[in-house]
């Protein structure tokens, strides 16, 4: 059901954990289906310098959150905001249709974290 790439990220998720004093935090989820995700970012010179995540959810939810941290790291905030769920799914070599909402969640989580940062900075 899952691609080997996805399973790899599930087995060894990248950037797993929490950041101390993050510049922005995004928490999203849907407790009915069981996904809950927190994305923590550190921002320097408008770029995502560091990013970590914590996820309660299925293998797809864990792998998509791992993948989005990979995709977002080093990007400018504008670039990071543009990451789509399709991009995450593609990077994982596909997701079963019923699991697409998991990657949606990862993209959402990152957006909320960036917005949180911008709001704190008074940039909104």
């Amino acid at each position: 059901m899952y691609s080997e790439k996805l399973m790899e990220h599930f087995r060894n998720p990248h950037n797993m954990g929490e950041l101390e004093n993050p510049d922005g935090v995004g928490t999203v989820g849907n407790p009915i289906c069981g996904d809950l995700m927190s994305i923590y970012i550190k921002v320097k010179d408008n770029k995502i310098e560091d990013i970590k995540f914590k996820t309660f959810g299925c293998a797809a939810a864990i792998a998509t959150s791992s993948m989005i941290t990979e995709l977002a790291k080093g990007k400018t905030l504008e670039e990071a905001l543009k990451i789509t769920k399709e991009e995450i799914a593609d990077a994982l070599e596909g997701l079963p249709p019923i699991k697409m909402h998991c990657s949606n969640l990862a993209a959402e989580g990152l957006k909320v974290a960036i917005k949180d940062y911008l709001a704190k900075k008074g940039k909104y």
């Binding site: 899952y2 399973m7 599930f10 087995r11 998720p13 797993m16 954990g17 995004g26 928490t27 999203v28 989820g29 407790p31 009915i32 289906c33 069981g34 809950l36 995700m37 927190s38 914590k54 996820t55 309660f56 959810g57 299925c58 293998a59 797809a60 939810a61 864990i62 019923i98 957006k111 909320v112 917005k115 949180d116 911008l118 709001a119 909104y124």
Partner: protein, 415 residues
């Protein structure tokens, strides 16, 4: 890597003895049981032998056993068959009424939902935290229009064994037909249809080391069932179709084996089950047993672990060679958590953190020791990834937090 199979509630391997008995019926004794010649007679005799083997195991008479293609078909034939036969007889102005429970297998629940669309009324009884049907409420729910009670013998997820004899007594007193789905309990705990006062009882072969694609339905003599497969009039006109002889032979043999071994199997599996339960609940922080501690199937251990989700757990265990199952729906087609776990009072997040380990004859103590060694590590690893662990946020807090975040992100967009 060694593979350990702990998903016997899903299906079991075919026992060697069963397979051996079945094989000649594919190649040597391939007759059609309806034919008059010797080939046909061989097939016919094989079916009758299997009928007797199954009848013996549940203390029924041979002629009270009908062969079907599965437990699901047996449930459908029992419930729809009784419903269609009785619909016209109901004089209650409120209409024909069926009583079932909230934790039935989909084969029963979906059949009842279908009948609701056909104008039947259905009462879905709640259960307590162990999964026991509320017998008092059952009795109070019986009305003039009630013609059928269908309550499972043992739950397929949490393993709880329902007080079916008590329910049977009430059904008999009130002159209501009782059907029980015994797919999970058949061959694992003693069944006596007379003591149960059961009028119909569904069983399946592949949960007791028999082949897939064959089941049976016990129909007490005198109980009238409307068939829904029409044709050549096989199985007393109740289930037309050329019989799956090899499958039926397999079911019969599996039932015979189960009967010979029922006590020793149950004792053996109870020992392994209790070892799992004791060690896991004692050694893994915030792990709990779902279902009743003792009134449960001898081979079923069902847990929940705070802070982690079932599919991740099942896949992680699979990586270590352990085949298990989950109460989380993330791995299935629907994403809502198990209706059984919600019915016993768990919230969604708790229900998602469930794991079902179901034992079989071939499991060994060493395998259980291996599982007990691996499981705590796996749980710990997943908890490290989880935002719900450590902070121990309650679901309500989470929901509030999520709402706040949502509002925040909306406000930001508005500005």
């Amino acid at each position: 890597m060694k593979r350990i199979y702990l998903d016997h509630a899903a299906t079991t391997p075919i026992a060697q003895e069963v397979l051996k008995e079945m094989l000649p019926y594919f190649t040597e004794f391939y007759g059609n049981a309806s034919s008059l010649h010797s080939f046909g007679r061989e097939a016919h005799n094989a079916i009758e032998k299997a009928r007797a083997q199954i009848a013996n195991l549940i203390k029924a008479k041979e002629e009270e056993i009908i062969f079907t293609s599965s437990g699901t078909e047996s449930d459908n034939l029992a419930i729809k068959g009784i419903a269609y036969r009785h619909k016209e007889l109901i004089t209650d102005f409120e209409g024909p009424h069926i009583i079932t429970s909230a934790i039935e297998h989909p084969a029963v629940l979906e059949t009842c939902k279908y009948l609701e669309q056909q104008g039947f009324r259905v009462k879905y009884l709640p259960v307590d935290k162990y999964g026991f049907v509320n017998v008092e409420e059952l009795e109070n729910s019986i009305s003039k229009g009630t013609f059928l009670i269908t309550i499972m013998h043992a739950n397929n997820e949490i393993g709880t064994i329902e007080p079916i004899e008590e329910i049977g007594k009430i059904a008999k007193e009130r002159d209501v037909i009782l059907h029980t789905d015994a797919v999970q309990s058949f061959g694992k705990v003693p069944i006596d249809v007379g003591k149960m006062n059961a009028d119909l009882l569904s069983v399946s072969a592949h949960k007791i080391y028999g082949p897939k694609g064959v089941g049976a339905l016990y129909i007490k003599r005198g109980v009238q069932v409307e068939p829904f497969i029409h044709g050549g009039g096989h199985e007393r006109g109740l289930r037309s179709s050329t019989e799956n002889i090899a499958g039926i032979v397999g079911l019969g043999k599996a039932a015979e084996l189960a009967q010979q071994r029922i006590e020793s199997d149950a004792a053996y599996m109870t020992k392994l089950r209790d070892k799992l339960i004791k060690n896991i609940t004692e050694n893994v922080e915030e792990s709990y047993l779902n279902g009743h501690p003792t009134k449960r199937l001898p081979n079923n251990a069902h847990f929940r672990f705070t802070g982690i989700e079932g599919e991740s757990l099942v896949l992680s265990l699979d990586e270590k060679g352990i085949a298990s199952s989950t109460g989380s729906a993330c791995s299935s087609k629907k994403l809502e958590p198990s209706h059984v776990l919600l019915a016993i009072g768990l919230n969604e997040v708790e229900a998602h953190g469930s794991l079902r380990l179901t034992l079989g004859r071939e499991n060994t103590e060493e395998e259980i020791d291996y599982v007990l060694g691996v499981l705590p590590e796996v749980v710990e690893r997943l908890r490290k990834i989880s935002p719900l662990w450590g902070k121990k946020l309650e679901l309500e807090e989470w929901k509030k937090k999520l709402e706040k975040e949502e509002r925040k992100s909306k406000e930001i967009e508005l500005r």
